[in-house]
């Protein structure tokens, strides 16, 4: 009898009423899935090329874009696209010149400040700011799902085009240059790729937490395997688990989805890290 009660609670928790019938949850699931997959693809190159800083900065620039869109009352995607594409070009131009950390950090701060200004001018305080910075599942509308899918397709297409030359350039730069791979163009396109991904991640998990989704699963997968395809598959699975579980927990509790996503991703990393240490410790004892 008691067992049944526990089971019931568990079922209610795993499948709360409305989980599969509420439209916004469907929107969130579709968007979340696309975002997790595409973020993994791009995150692979972010980790390989050590471009964590870019992945950290572009979502914040996207914040200014989305806030500007609320002031002008244009679709958020338009604002995000404009700011992220412009921002990625500016950042990649800045990072090529000396003293980059100072200029880049100041540019970022200015973008964040501009976002703040837009929010103030648009009379959008508190709740909106929170949703933009930390994500909100109820915020995804029907048309936005279509837009996310489109951006996802474009990004994946660009990723597939870039895959071979970018990998070549990353792994064996000298040889790639000798074979006349166009380094500058590729680097610019790579940053544009990160910008495009952030267009998708920012509305779902928010500007401040996008970095986690982009880097987390790949970093965890890299602990386990060194082979490219295996890493991608494992990271994709980890990312999907994190996003789906985060959405479920957020629906259950009403707490912010970004909090759950970052917590699950760090837990995945921690568990794999500890597990790997335990295994290597045992094998070295033998």
């Amino acid at each position: 009898m008691r067992m049944m009660g526990v089971l019931d609670t568990l079922c209610l928790w795993l499948l709360p009423p409305g989980l599969l019938t509420t439209p916004y949850m469907w929107h969130a699931y579709v968007c979340g899935t696309v975002v997790a997959v595409v973020a993994t693809l791009v995150g692979y190159f972010v980790v390989l090329r050590g471009a964590a800083f870019m992945a950290h900065s572009l979502p914040k620039i996207g914040f200014a874009g989305i806030a500007g869109a609320t002031v002008l009352q244009i679709p958020p995607l338009a604002g995000l696209l404009t700011f992220n594409l412009l921002g990625s070009l500016v950042l990649s131009a800045l990072s090529r010149r000396g003293k980059r950390d100072v200029v880049t950090a100041l540019t970022l701060v200015l973008a964040l400040g501009a976002g703040e200004l837009f929010l103030t001018l648009g009379h959008a305080y508190g709740e909106t700011a929170y949703a933009l910075l930390f994500g909100q599942i109820v915020g995804i509308s029907g048309p936005q799902v279509g837009q996310t899918l489109t951006v996802g397709l474009v990004t994946t297409g660009l990723w597939m085009t870039l895959y071979r030359p970018l990998l070549f350039l990353t792994v064996a730069r000298d040889q790639a240059l000798a074979r006349r791979v166009r380094e500058r163009l590729l680097e610019n396109l790579f940053v544009v790729l990160i910008g495009l991904v952030c267009v998708m991640t920012v509305p779902v998990v928010g500007a401040l937490l996008s970095f986690s989704l982009l880097i987390g699963p790949i970093t965890t997968a890299c602990l386990v395997t060194r082979r490219g395809l295996h890493t991608l598959l494992l990271a994709g699975a980890l990312g999907l688990v994190a996003v789906w579980l985060a959405l479920l927990l957020a629906y259950d509790s009403g707490w912010p989805v970004g909090f759950f996503a970052t917590t699950i991703i760090i837990l995945e990393y921690g568990m794999v890290h500890i597990g790997r240490k335990a295994i290597s410790g045992r094998s070295s004892k033998k």
Binding site: A52, L112, Y130, I265, I266
Partner: protein, 296 residues
């Protein structure tokens, strides 16, 4: 145009909130500017970013238990500083594991901010923690802010030479018998306090402007350490006063009635100052080039 008499008698100077904001921003700005010169020299601007981001989590927690936000900033900032000391060189921007831990803290901050709005019905906590609201800072905090800033300045005055030696070449300093580790700890302490002071004044996300902007401009303008520190402090003060003045005046700007956020204005002025400094360098080199002297 505003003449001097109306300027002096403007209600701007008679508002206690404005004076409070001026005290807070100036003291945080000057302390950050002095520490910032060393941060820029040591290439630690990413660390400043980590400190205030983690501090923001503390500040959001402090609203939850309704204590002063400054304590929240400071306690979590000290925690982050200690963590970076332990991790040592790994805590650079390149390391994605450190980045993950940082985002986890921000996620925790997201939860605290969410609970804040549930518990206390103060919807603007998000904005005031992340972007600052210098006009509404509790006046009881002001003496603490000024006190810590003065303490930082005194500390730097006392430790100026050994700190400089450590920042330029740690091994050489070690060889000369300077306690590098101890001085590094003291520097980290001053770094945390300055970063969190400006986080309170400017908001966690925009405090990086105060920490590295004036300092970077100062270092560009002068190769002499003392001058660079002086210029940096001056630029920070100018940005603070001008920013608060403009924020006060902006209530009459279009679209009227809301006022522009102070931290945005200060950050914008600092950005302009940095650009001006870069242009001055070019201009100076150009003039010297015409005079036939080579600029180094």
């Amino acid at each position: 145009m505003m003449d001097l008499a109306t300027f002096v008698h403007s209600p701007f100077w008679h508002s206690p909130q404005v004076w409070n904001a001026l005290y807070i921003t100036t003291s945080a700005g000057v302390a950050s500017a002095v520490v910032g010169v060393f941060i820029v020299m040591r290439g630690q601007s990413f660390a400043g970013h980590i400190l205030t981001d983690v501090g923001a989590t503390g500040a959001s927690a402090s609203f939850l238990v309704s204590i002063n936000a400054w304590y929240g900033f400071l306690s979590f900032g000290l925690l982050a500083g200690a963590g970076m000391e332990v991790l040592g060189k790994r805590a650079s921007g390149r390391d994605s594991a450190t980045g993950l831990v940082l985002t986890f803290f921000m996620g925790l901050g997201a939860l605290f901010l969410f609970l804040d709005t549930r518990v206390s019905n103060t919807a603007d906590v998000t904005m005031s923690v992340l972007f600052g609201s210098v006009f509404t800072v509790d006046p009881n905090t002001t003496p603490w802010l000024i006190g810590t800033s003065v303490a930082i300045l005194l500390l730097f005055a006392a430790l100026y030479r050994p700190l400089l030696t450590c920042s330029i070449d740690a091994e050489w300093a070690q060889a000369r018998g300077i306690p590098v580790r101890f001085i590094g700890l003291l520097f980290m302490l001053a770094f945390v306090v300055a970063a969190e002071d400006s986080a309170l004044a400017m908001g966690a996300l925009l405090s990086t402007a105060f920490l590295i902007g004036p300092a970077a401009a100062g270092v560009r303008l002068s190769h002499r350490m003392g001058t660079a520190i002086g210029v940096s402090a001056l630029l920070a003060t100018i940005a603070a006063w001008l920013g608060i003045g403009l924020a006060y005046a902006s209530y009459n700007w279009p679209p009227a009635g809301r006022g522009y956020p102070c931290s945005f204005l200060v950050a914008g002025i600092i950005f302009l100052e940095y650009l001006l400094a870069c242009m001055t360098i070019r201009w100076r080199a150009h003039i010297r080039g015409l005079g036939g002297k080579r600029c180094v």
